[in-house]
């Protein structure tokens, strides 16, 4: 398990495989005002990124690389717009 929860802070560290998506989702459901600390996170699997996008928790730190950044940026846009926008294009 690459994540630990300490009160309202969930710390993701190292490589987070697809298996982490479900426990992370459970944790975020249980803690609606959670802060997710990504400072120590390495690669996040798409499923994990998706959970972060849907739940839209407060993030601390950003994972390296343009792809996670683009995903998480999309999540911010979505949360500010209420619901995720339907497909663009």
């Amino acid at each position: 398990m690459a994540f630990e929860q300490d009160g309202a802070t969930i710390v993701l560290s190292g490589h987070c495989p697809v298996e982490d998506a479900e426990p992370l989702l459970d944790a975020l459901r249980a803690t609606p005002d959670a802060t997710v600390d990504l400072t120590g996170a390495g690669w996040l699997h798409t499923a994990v990124l998706q959970v972060l996008m849907v739940a839209g928790p407060t993030l601390r730190g950003r994972p390296a690389g343009p792809v996670p950044a683009a995903c998480l940026a999309a999540s911010l846009a979505a949360s500010s717009a209420g619901l995720p926008a339907a497909r663009a294009g």
Partner: protein, 863 residues
């Protein structure tokens, strides 16, 4: 299918694709001019024939493949494995389109985009190999619409990176995580990744009901890399990706409301001057200054930002176009800058006037040929397809014609289905311009590939002639719809059954009228009809018989692709491909075989390094063999890989409770390995610790058993495994024996019956709950048919001797106690359907000669 011409095209196209595909594989092994010619002919014919239909993407793709082959044939290009991959993939795509054409009569909607990607890849090799670039023949496709939505900074960076650029849209399918895909990772690793936008594919469920294992993202990606590199990177998800090579200019997508302030006019004049004098720094400064005073959301602001970013590097041409977009001057050039609202096709320049006249002449010639085609009387079924293809050709000619003529023709085209009207209009103009038409008509027919003109459609007769000439081998074949043969087969089989009625009749005549003479005559007549019916049945069966090579021929490709993916070296040896079996039997075999071959490659054969370490040659061998044994086809898939450890299988079977320790103690090692076929043996975790042999093997067995066959496995640890499939030669007519239990008659397939014996009651012993008897030193378990079927036992004292039918169930022998044996006969076993479909214990029903319905037992269900 309403279009008879298209109906003919589809099987022909499949055959051509197959021929090209197998030629390609042969060519990769050893360069042979013959194989190359064969492929070329197939592809060329396919291109020519496809021109008859409205399938432009297909024709273009095949055309690109043909161009590549021309270069290979001329020795200017060597067939690297990547090129073969590309060609094979293209043929696969065409094959897929043919499938869609067959069901929907039109190409899938994404055909155009898919074609563009492939064509670009093929052309890429062409350009890399010989500078005789065919770029001019490829119409550049429009850039994807979503391009403008990418962040401007990323687009500007990409513009400066310059060609080659690829824009791709990746929509991973919902269940991709289950296959181990990580789409974000795949995107992050893409070559030359420059721009990216991530969106949800559709609305995402709220957090409460969210399912974390489904993928729902859509990635819009821009890469500065050759299209081949990106294609290669995405090869495993190619069905989820739309790839479009784009030009740097495509990236300049201007968005926002128009601002018609006067200041832009001034800027335009000034900027043109600056571009002309090459004062780029000043231009940048001017753009930046103007940006400071206008609203940032307008179209002009967008263009200004581009100018500011590109001023130091871009070509004068591109800058001038941007300037025009700002002040709206020189509309001719302005229109080439696409706007987000209306992305105009980038290269739609009208043909130069000089080339117009010959084109028009040629178009007229083609139209004259169409008129001739239409004038030939033809049967109604072909007529619809012919008219459709003529209409397509005429439509394509329209833009090369004189305006008045084009108008008249499109009016005629608008009245669909009216061949006479179209013919009249076509003829009309043939008289107006008779000279060029007559002169050019034969020329056009001779050179079907005259480049700039659309492909002229030759009369149908000519096409099939050309195909026959181009195709190798004797063409004395009849292509018949399988349904027709099946109908014939059914009648033949019914005749076989109906003639059985004569035997009953003979018996009844003897009983009722007591005339033995008449009965004998009927029997003689029965013998004659029997002989003819048998010959008829054999003859029809022979039509349905196909060589096993029909199934085997896909394996060279499968083995090649799989081993390339796995990094293994495997030699595929195919034996006995001439062995024939019924088409339905072979079709039922295809999927299980693919499964077994994949398993052998994936988990049986080791990597070259492991093989060398084990003292084996680095190159593994996979042997596919077929042979006929009695009324069965035997197919073997044998590898010389690491084999299966019977101990591991046994432990696993014990762990999941498939067998009890007692049973395990009684089993021989070779029986352990066959446990992999047991349902419930294979679970996901098995893949790693059991060399994955268990995965889906129960599916294989059930498929084979459904077709009336059986499958078993033999393996020696360290030396390899061999899966043997046994299938009946034909499934149409079954020889059965009828047995009686509790006054009811049932049929049992003769294949399953080993022998029939009478067993005295004293020799039947009871071991635990099971009755058994000893047959030639072997203990055989007994099953009472009446009990298994839940019938009340026959009244009266049990007989002194039991009639026992010793049957093979799987590879076991079982004795089945019946009340008596009746007759043997040949019947068509019809599967149970409708309400009876779920009935366990019966494989189907058969109609007897006297009109009764007989239930045919499925022994494995009963034992």
């Amino acid at each position: 299918m309403t279009n008879a011409l298209l109906a003919q095209f589809i099987p022909e196209a499949r055959e051509l694709l197959e021929r090209a595909g197998s030629g390609m594989l042969a060519l990769e092994k050893a360069h042979s001019a013959e194989a190359l010619d064969e492929i070329f002919r197939a592809v060329h014919t396919l291109k020519g024939t496809s021109g008859l239909f409205d399938v432009a993407p297909l024709t273009n793709l095949v055309h690109a493949a043909e161009d590549l082959l021309v270069e290979v044939r001329a020795g200017k290009l060597t067939l690297a494995p990547e090129i073969v991959d590309g060609l094979l993939d293209s043929l696969d795509l065409v094959g897929h389109w043919i499938d869609v054409l067959e069901t929907r009569e039109v190409l899938p909607d994404d055909a155009e985009a898919a074609m563009a990607g492939r064509v670009a890849a093929l052309r890429g090799w062409l350009e890399a190999g010989g500078p005789a670039a065919a770029a001019s023949t490829v119409e550049r496709q429009a850039a994807p619409e979503w391009l403008g939505a990418l962040p401007e900074a990323e687009r500007q960076a990409a513009y400066m990176a310059g060609a080659p650029l690829v824009a791709w849209l990746y929509e991973p399918d919902e269940s991709c995580f289950f296959r181990g895909d990580d789409p974000a990772h795949l995107v992050a690793q893409a070559p030359g990744l420059l721009g990216l936008r991530v969106l949800p594919q559709a609305s995402v469920p709220p957090l409460e009901t969210y399912d974390p294992v489904l993928s729902w993202l859509r990635f819009e990606v821009l890469c500065a890399a050759p299209v081949e590199a990106v294609t290669e990177h995405l090869r495993y998800v190619s069905d989820q990706v739309q790839l479009s090579p784009i030009a740097p200019e495509d990236l300049i997508v201007l968005d926002g409301p128009e601002d018609d302030a006067e200041v832009f006019g001034d800027f335009g004049t000034r900027a043109r001057g600056l571009v002309a004098t090459g004062a780029r720094a000043d231009l940048k400064a001017a753009a930046a200054a103007l940006l400071g005073i206008i609203g940032p959301a307008t179209r002009q602001a967008d263009a200004l930002r581009w100018i500011a970013a590109l001023a130091p590097t871009a070509s004068a041409d591109a800058l001038l176009r941007l300037v025009s977009a700002i002040d709206g001057a020189a509309p001719g050039t302005a229109s080439t800058v696409p706007t987000a609202a209306a992305p105009a096709p980038a290269a739609a320049a009208p043909p130069p006037t000089g080339a117009e006249a010959p084109l028009r002449q040629r178009a007229e010639a083609i139209l004259a040929a169409q008129a001739e085609v239409l004038a030939v009387p033809v049967e109604a079924a072909l007529n619809a397809g012919r008219l459709e293809s003529v209409r397509t050709v005429v439509r394509r000619c329209l833009r090369h014609l004189a305006p008045t003529r084009a108008e008249a023709l499109s009016a005629a085209l608008a009245r669909s289905g009216d061949a006479a009207a179209l013919l009249a209009v076509l003829r009309d103009a043939a008289e107006v311009a008779p000279a060029p038409a007559v002169a050019a008509a034969p020329k056009a027919a001779q050179k079907p590939a005259a480049p700039p003109a659309p492909l002229p459609a030759a009369p149908p007769g000519e096409v099939s002639e050309g195909t026959a000439g181009a195709g190798a081998g004797p063409a004395r074949m009849l292509r018949v719809d399988q349904a027709k043969v099946d109908t014939l087969m059914n009648f033949a089989a019914e005749l076989v059954v109906a003639k059985n009625g004569l035997a009953y009749l003979a018996g009844r005549v003897e009983q009722v009228s007591g005339s033995r003479q008449l009965g004998r005559e009927i029997k003689e007549q029965y013998a004659v009809i029997d002989r003819i019916a048998q010959s008829l049945q054999v003859g029809v069966m022979a039509i349905r018989m196909m060589p096993v090579s029909q199934v085997f021929q896909r394996f060279p490709r499968l083995v090649r692709d799989t081993t390339r993916k796995l990094g293994k070296e495997v030699e595929l040896v195919i034996q006995g491909e001439d062995t024939e079996a019924d088409k339905n039997v072979l079709e039922s075999l295809a999927d299980p075989l693919i499964h077994m071959v994949r398993n052998a490659l994936d988990h049986g054969i080791e990597t070259p390094a492991d093989r060398v370490a084990a003292g084996k040659p680095a190159r593994g061998t996979l042997r596919l063999s077929a042979r006929q044994e009695n009324d069965n086809v035997i197919i073997e898939v044998a590898d010389d890989g690491k084999g299966i450890d019977p101990e591991v299988v046994r432990d696993k079977a014990l762990r999941v409770g498939l067998i009890t320790p007692d049973q395990a103690a009684q089993m021989a090692p070779e029986e352990y390995v066959n446990l992999v076929f047991a349902p419930g043996f294979s679970t996901k975790e098995q893949v790693s610790d059991l060399s994955g042999r268990g995965v889906g093997m129960d599916v294989v067995r059930s498929a084979v058993r459904k077709a009336g066959g059986d499958v078993w496995l033999a393996s020696r640890l360290g030396q390899g495994s061999c899966v043997t499939v046994q299938l009946p030669l034909t499934m149409a007519v079954t020889r059965i024996v009828t047995v009686e239990a509790s006054g009811q008659q049932y049929g049992v397939a003769m294949d399953a019956v080993a022998e029939t014996v009478k067993v005295p009651r004293g020799q039947i012993h009871r071991i635990k709950q099971r009755e058994t008897f000893v047959l030639r030193d072997a203990v055989i378990p007994l099953v009472r048919l009446a009990d298994s079927l839940g019938l009340t036992p026959a009244a009266g004292a049990p007989p002194d001797e039991e009639a026992v039918m010793v049957a093979r169930v799987g590879r076991e022998r079982v004795g089945i106690v019946v009340d008596g044996f009746r007759e043997r006969m040949e019947v068509i076993v019809r599967p149970l359907d409708g309400l009876l479909a779920g009935l366990v214990g019966f494989s189907g029903t058969a109609l007897l000669g006297d009109g009764r319905v007989l239930l045919v037992l499925n022994l494995p269900d009963l034992v």
